[in-house]
Amino acid sequence: MDLLNALVALANFVIVPAVAYGSQLALGALGVTLIYGILRFSNFAHGDTMAFGAMIAVLVTWGLQAAGVSFGPLPTALLALPFAILGCIILVLVTDKLVYRFYREQKAKPVILVIVSMGVMFIMNGLVRFIIGPDDQRFSDGARFIVSAREFKAMTGLREGLAIKTSQGITVIVAVVAVVLLFWFLNKTRTGKSMRAYSDNEDLALLSGINPERVVMITWIIVAALATTAGVLYGLDKSFKPFVYFQLLLPIFASAIVGGLGNPLGAIAGGFIIAFSEVTITYAWKKVLTYLAPENLEPSGLVQFLSTDYKFAVSFAILLIVLLFKPTGLFKGKAV
């Protein structure tokens, strides 16, 4: 019984939140990794792209709510998602045309593009703050829980409850759908194959008649869709605050690099690695250990390795370890 209770507590406080967070990071990291693979630079504006997409979703959600439209038990934001993706696609395509294309034609060094993306980051950040303001915005509605802790306790008779928020369930489902679509696209369609060819060997791809501008455009569209989805899911799960998205840049980059920059599979694995380590290291293990430890040997402290404020330190430490020992990432990435 104690073992079961411990498992449930573990699932409730560690596994469920980490899976949801990991899915959000994985979607974000996929965007970073695709940009790196095709356009060959680290996009510092990615967090703010996510914020921009999520902002449109928030605004459309508010509009739908005001119009009395709802999605039953599901959050209205899911209905707003296609509009948000569309808005974000327009933004990144305009940005690419006005900003990035010039440097691509010049064949500028990647580090210059990184600095350019810093400028884009400023502009997007300013836009988001200008339109919706820097404060916390709530936009989730619908049922709060799929399984609430009390229901679970009544159902199983255990002392520990297991709560699964609707947002967490949706996050995982949407993330799985998005990833399946992406991999189907990359592996089965002609355009997807041309993207991979371009990423693997630019010159060879150009020789075989692949239109680079088209590849770049499709990449941006996919990245905008992924970033918006990640942003909306994160906003539903936690809350929408522009600055938080900027700060997500670090765990997202950590995920992409740990998995191997330029490798989509690695980005997903990296997202979950970072999420699980952040949650396990900042979780207070007292509860779980109390169930497992024999009597009189229960831990006296919280058994928390690091306070939650240091979660950046966790993703960073993992990043450094991987970079030092396996610079191309766990899955073979492009970067050396």
Binding site: F102, V111, V116, F122, F130, G133, A254, G301, L320, L323
Partner: protein, 437 residues
């Protein structure tokens, strides 16, 4: 028009803008812009050293600036009575043990042959070390934080003159930079960027959460001023000699005393800026500077000539970060308080980058000019934005939601404008206002 005439003109223009602020707004805000401009110029010199001379992409400026601020508290504030005896030595011991754990793990990683034994030993050392460290660290920290938590609860400083804290800030930042450089330099440029970005966030997180060190988000107030150059307003207003001088300038005592305090800071900052600028210029012209630029332009060729690229990179990374640390210490001294919650990467890292790139990377004078110009704009874009919004919305009816929203959001024009300036300069004048020779 020769280059030197053009460059002088640019400086005159920026100086004129600040003077204009003085005439049209107030001299207090003009000198405030000047003071922060001086500090920003020092940060720019630091970043320019790393990026312009050596091509190192450091986006952790905020962390080094914050460390400089921390040094001010640790050096110049009075020690908290009883903090050292109740827990200070214990904390130091715990930190030393923690460092020893990491060092021994690194040694094992280097010395033992690769394999399962090595991995297990490293994990074992780290686990044991961690628990020993926490075992000693936690009780001592609670002991320190229990001392008078409303006003202290931290270990306090050394009660030394605050001017000593400036080089100390540089040293602290240099130490951190050495540690970071040892691990992260030699990675690709974007990885170094991510690594420094992360380090800066971690430094801020530590400063926010380790209350025993500098009170965390409870902030430290009342940092002593570098007297006698910078006095205190209240004392100046009682000083008959000062009152007579204020009278002679035709200023009322309150304005005169605030101006005098701020000008005192300006003088000190100006001296530091001149010294650092002179040093940076000397470094640029020296064989060392030429070597750095050679490494920047072609690492492989420089390495073939027998230059130790990684070591030179480490050297310049430490130097540049130290300069950022000095600037950070100066800024905390100017503020008179340390507020870890206000450090924001957009303001303290990326804005400095805008300064360097707009001014002209690789040119020290460019970096200084860019710092003054961008800081001026950073301050003035807000009122200009408000004015612009008022002009745009004049046609709209009063009380309409759009008008209110536009006017209220004018404050956020800053980031947008900075991004725009950066992109425009990068596109049309990528070498900056005063390009590298």
């Amino acid at each position: 028009m020769t280059d030197s005439v053009k460059n002088t003109l640019l400086f005159v223009v920026v100086g004129g803008l600040i003077l204009l602020t003085g005439f049209t707004q107030s001299w207090n805000s003009a000198i405030l812009i000047l003071n922060m401009g001086l500090i920003s110029a020092i940060m720019s010199i630091g970043v320019n050293l790393q990026w312009g001379f050596a091509g190192l992409f450091n986006v952790g400026v905020m962390g080094f600036v914050a460390l400089g601020g921390l040094a001010v508290v640790l050096v110049s504030t009075p020690p908290t009575p009883g903090a050292w005896s109740s827990g200070g030595y214990g904390v130091i011991l715990a930190l030393l043990l923690g460092a020893a754990t990491v060092v021994s793990a690194v040694i094992v990683a280097q010395k033992l042959p690769k394999g399962r034994v090595q991995t297990l030993t490293i994990v074992g050392i780290l686990l044991v070390g961690f628990f020993v460290y926490r075992g000693i660290f936690d009780p001592n920290v609670s002991a320190i934080e229990a001392i008078d938590p409303a006003v202290a609860g931290n270990i306090g400083g050394l009660n030394l003159p605050v001017l000593l804290a400036w080089p100390a800030g540089g040293l602290l930042a240099a130490g951190a930079a050495w540690l970071i450089g040892k691990t992260a330099l030699g990675l690709r440029s974007d990885y170094l960027a991510i690594a420094t970005l992360g380090i800066a966030e971690i430094i801020i997180a530590v400063m926010k959460n380790e209350d025993w060190l500098a009170r965390g988000v409870k902030n430290v107030y009342g940092i002593p001023r570098p007297s006698p150059v910078v006095g205190y307003e209240v004392e100046l207003q009682k000083d008959p000699a000062f009152l007579a001088r204020a009278e002679w300038f035709g200023l009322d005592p309150v304005t005169a005393s605030t101006l005098s305090v701020k000008l005192g800071y300006s003088l000190l900052f100006f001296i530091v800026l001149l010294v650092l600028l002179w040093m940076a210029q000397m470094a640029l012209k020296s064989p060392w500077g030429r070597m750095m630029r050679a490494i920047r332009d072609n690492e492989v060729a420089a390495e073939a000539m027998g230059k130790d690229v990684t070591r030179r990179h480490l050297q310049i990374f430490v130097l540049g970060s130290a300069i950022c640390g000095i600037a950070g210490a100066m800024m905390t001294t100017l503020d008179g308080q340390l507020t870890p919650g206000t450090y924001n990467p957009l303001r303290f890292t990326f804005l400095v980058w805008v300064m360097v790139i707009v001014g002209g990377s690789g040119n020290n004078f460019g970096a200084v000019l860019g710092a003054f110009l961008i800081w001026f704009l950073w301050v003035q874009v807000e009122p200009i934005g408000l004015w612009l919004m008022n002009v745009i919305t004049t046609g709209m009816p009063d009380g309409s939601a759009l008008k209110d929203h536009l006017i209220n959001s004018a404050a956020h024009m800053r980031l947008f404008t900075m991004g725009l300036i950066l992109l425009i300069v990068l596109r049309f004048s990528p070498r900056g206002l005063i390009p590298e020779k």
